[in-house]
């Protein structure tokens, strides 16, 4: 019960944050940072939801970039309105994810991770090489959404955030929690218990990919410019993993806590220490994983 109140309070604070930020000097800076934090939170959640089925994926950069590029191409080259480009990006990503999922999801552990990593890198090569469509490494300039109004952007991402939390919590409370946990701990037994493991994993993979791709489309329309080396950046995938493990895996609150803390640490360190701040960042990650193997949330959990 207390937990419930706390989480509603948390969402409420996130919801009214722009109002608080409005009275701070450098409003838009705090808004922009919170936009980044929310985007990472969503990515981390999407990664966590998939890893609940036991599949640790490196496809996030691939789908993030795919979403970003499809959206950019449809808006810039074909003149589609932003909202349609986003929908098309989601459709295409879901089809790609569905195919990729059926092909790769029977692989386990490292094999799956490397297969999805390969997918991300292959997509990046395609985007760099197919210059006629993608403009290659020079990137594509498009328009920004809401004419760059940070409040509107914030609320769009906030709504997405709430929806993704909803999906994550639904999974935690429904029969999917049972099937995912079963698949993760022992897929063979799960099958014999009547769980259609392939379908469950593929569906989750598609959802996770669509979320990553949606965030990719947001990136396109926040900066109004994308380039392959920053949207297919593997560190997007590694960061999602880091945030999940840092916060606490297999939960809704864990990835959120991880993303918020890591992103804020990153921001604070980079503006205070400057050159070399990443060393401290790395140290914080190492120390946390050594002393809190269950992530920050592990502090509150019973042994």
């Amino acid at each position: 019960m207390k937990k419930k109140i706390l989480s509603y309070l948390g969402i409420f604070i996130v919801a009214i944050f722009p109002l608080i930020a409005y009275f701070m000097p450098g409003t838009k800076y705090f808004l922009q940072v919170s936009i980044d934090i929310l985007m990472y939170t969503i990515l981390a959640l999407s990664w966590d939801m998939l890893v609940r089925t036991g599949q640790a994926s490196f496809a996030i950069p691939g789908f993030y970039g795919l979403g970003a590029y499809v959206a950019a191409i449809f808006t810039k080259t074909l003149g589609f309105p932003i909202i349609f480009s986003i929908i098309i990006a989601l459709l295409i990503s879901s089809i790609v994810a569905w195919l990729l999922g059926y092909l790769t999801l029977r692989l386990k552990g490292m094999y799956f991770a490397i297969a999805t990593l390969a997918f991300s890198l292959i997509l990046m090569t395609l985007v760099i090489q197919l210059k006629d469509i993608t403009h290659g490494s020079e990137g594509i300039s498009t328009i920004t959404m809401f004419a760059g109004n940070k409040y509107m952007i914030y609320y769009l991402i906030f709504i997405t955030f709430v929806i993704v939390i909803g999906i994550s919590e639904y999974i935690q409370r429904s029969k999917y929690w049972y099937s995912f946990t079963a698949i993760r701990t022992n897929e063979q037994v799960a099958k014999v218990m009547g769980i259609n493991t392939v379908r469950q994993k593929v569906v989750m993979f598609v959802i996770s990919a669509m979320i990553a791709s949606l965030i990719g489309t947001y990136e396109t329309f926040i900066a109004g410019f994308i380039e392959p080396h920053s949207v297919f950046n593997l560190s997007i995938g590694v960061m999602a993993l880091a945030m999940v493990i840092f916060g606490g895996i297999y939960s809704t609150i864990g990835p959120i806590v991880g993303a918020v803390i890591l992103k804020i640490i990153d921001e604070i360190l980079s503006t205070t220490i400057g050159l070399g701040y990443m060393i401290v960042y790395g140290l914080i990650i190492v120390i946390t994983i050594l002393y809190l193997p269950k992530g920050v949330l592990g502090i509150w959990q019973k042994k």
Partner: protein, 245 residues
């Protein structure tokens, strides 16, 4: 015997690479019967179970369940039809409590209960198999006898018509074994047909309506317990070895 056959295999065979694990096994399970498969280690008993439950596809042969050919179905579909099984090496879902393990069976088994019903059901099942006091334990921390019970309870939760029990007696003390025998009888009395793999002869003598003896992946002989144990080949191949060591 004019009893109804619920499950039948016709010459199922399994190769792993060039290795022949199971060859030409045909068996018939009558409704509400208990069929025991015995044989020395490595005889292919567990592989046979894996073929029937769909964990491995057969290399050749057919599996008939309630008159339908289910050879090409996957394990989940076989579970939905009503084939439940336990594993010899107990494999509870480690991140789940005992109750949640059972709930999983109820959720995705033959009846596909809703979450609310499944939770209700799993409480009943936990009580029925004497697991109620352990219901919040994490599966892997249970004592052995209770893990065996959990295996059965979880399979039972899928509402099977046929249960495949893989060495559920192994490692139990006499009192626990007695309890297990009663449990198996009670399952049979409920209308569930059972195939069991076991080594312990007195339980088979007591439980089995029909016994199949396997060796080197093939069926050696079959029949009533008393007939089978008298068979010369069996004494040579199986009893002669197993009993002496």
């Amino acid at each position: 015997m004019a009893e109804k056959i619920i499950l039948e295999t016709r010459g199922i065979t399994k190769y792993f690479g060039g290795l022949r694990a199971v060859y030409n096994i045909s068996l018939k399970l009558n409704e509400k019967n208990i069929l025991a498969i015995i044989g020395p280690n490595g005889a292919g008993k567990t592989t046979t179970f894996n073929l029937i439950s769909g964990v491995f596809p057969v290399s050749s042969g057919n599996i008939i369940f309630e008159g339908k050919d289910i050879t090409k179905t996957n394990p989940a579909e076989r579970c939905h039809l009503g084939i439940g099984r336990t594993f010899q090496i107990m494999q509870p879902f480690e991140d789940m409590s005992v109750l949640e393990n059972i709930t999983t069976g109820a959720l995705f088994g033959r009846h596909k209960y809703s979450l609310k019903e499944a939770k209700q059901k799993s409480l009943e099942i936990a009580k029925r198999f004497g697991l109620f006091e352990y219901k919040d334990f994490v599966g892997s921390k249970l004592p052995l006898a209770y893990r065996k019970k959990l295996e059965i309870a979880r399979a039972y939760a899928t509402s099977p018509k046929v249960m495949l029990l893989d060495e559920v007696m192994e490692g139990l003390n006499p009192a626990e074994a007695r309890e297990m025998i009663e449990t198996i009888f009670s399952l049979r009395d409920e209308g569930i047909s059972i195939i069991m793999i076991d080594h312990i002869m007195f339980t088979i003598k007591e439980l089995a309506d029909w016994v199949i003896v396997m060796n080197y992946g093939e069926k050696l002989t079959e029949g009533k317990y008393d007939d089978v144990v008298k068979s010369k080949e069996v004494i040579e191949a199986y009893l002669g070895k197993e009993e002496t060591c």
